[in-house]
């Protein structure tokens, strides 16, 4: 499973990777981007199965990146999970229908595992 992590904090990207590794999700290959623009560049060049995106980032934020992804017919069906400290009603309403879920920081391996299982129909993660 190729996972793209888009977060401006390198430490948070490490934290997400570590949590996924602890979630017993096998055969993960991680791609990392520090903002939405870098995320789009990686999408252009690589096969990605799941995108984990932060909202607040410099240069191009998570919402702008998601809007760009949804406009692109090649990869607009890649599932996107938003991982953020932000929990605002406005943001969640705006993203409804564009993303498959919202993970609020801090997250646990168990929560990640069940969310990824839900997204992949049980192929990855635990039910």
């Amino acid at each position: 499973m190729n996972i793209l992590i888009v977060d401006d904090s390198p430490v948070m990207r490490k934290m997400i990777k570590k949590t996924i590794e602890m979630s017993n999700i096998d055969n993960c290959v991680f791609f990392e981007a520090g903002n939405g623009k870098e995320g789009l560049d990686i999408l252009e060049k690589n096969w990605i199965d799941l995108i984990l995106a932060d909202i607040n980032m410099p240069i191009m934020n998570g919402i702008e990146m998601i809007d760009e992804i949804k406009k692109n017919t090649v990869y607009n069906d890649i599932p996107i999970l938003v991982i953020s400290t932000e929990k605002s009603y406005d943001t969640m309403e705006y993203l409804k229908g564009k993303i498959v879920g919202f993970i609020h920081k801090p997250f646990t391996p168990e929560f990640f595992s069940s969310k990824i299982s839900e997204i992949t129909g049980g192929i990855y993660g635990k039910r």
């Binding site: 904090s9 430490v11 400290t85 932000e86 605002s88 009603y89 609020h104």
Partner: protein, 137 residues
């Protein structure tokens, strides 16, 4: 529940979920060097949060998250960012939008120069953390 208790519970949950740390009642060890971090927020209310965390504790947390010792300050910033995001969501409703500024490392902190509406301290085996929050600027 008072603001201090709410801050304690929210922060303790962040440490438990993020790095599996459970608070202890009291830290009988001598406290060592502290590292300080600050984050500002704007929105329904403006304010700031300051975290004073014992270096030993932050080094331990960083070792769980990262294999690079140099990430320690970034790790502190990220923890404060998460605690602040959570306390704002807990204190106000999810319908209120807040903008968090990027957290900063504060080299020298004069804690008396700030006003706080709530504060708490949490003890862990690995060290202590103090949190101060101003929600009423």
């Amino acid at each position: 529940m008072g603001k201090d208790d709410k801050l304690y519970i929210t922060a303790a949950n962040v440490f438990a979920n993020l790095v599996f740390l459970t608070p202890i009642e009291n830290n009988l060890k001598n406290e060592n060097e502290f590292l300080n971090f600050k984050i500002d927020f704007t929105g329904e209310k403006n304010g700031y949060m300051i975290m004073k965390i014992e270096k030993n504790l932050l080094e331990y947390i960083n070792s769980i998250i990262s294999d690079d010792k140099n990430d320690i300050k970034e790790c502190g910033k990220e923890i404060l960012n998460i605690i602040c995001g959570n306390i704002l969501s807990e204190t106000f409703t999810d319908k209120k939008r807040f903008k968090l500024s990027p957290p900063i490392f504060v080299e020298k902190l004069d804690i008396d120069a700030y006003n706080f509406s709530c504060s708490t301290k949490i003890f862990f085996e690995e060290g202590s953390v103090y949190l101060y929050c101003n929600l009423n600027k």
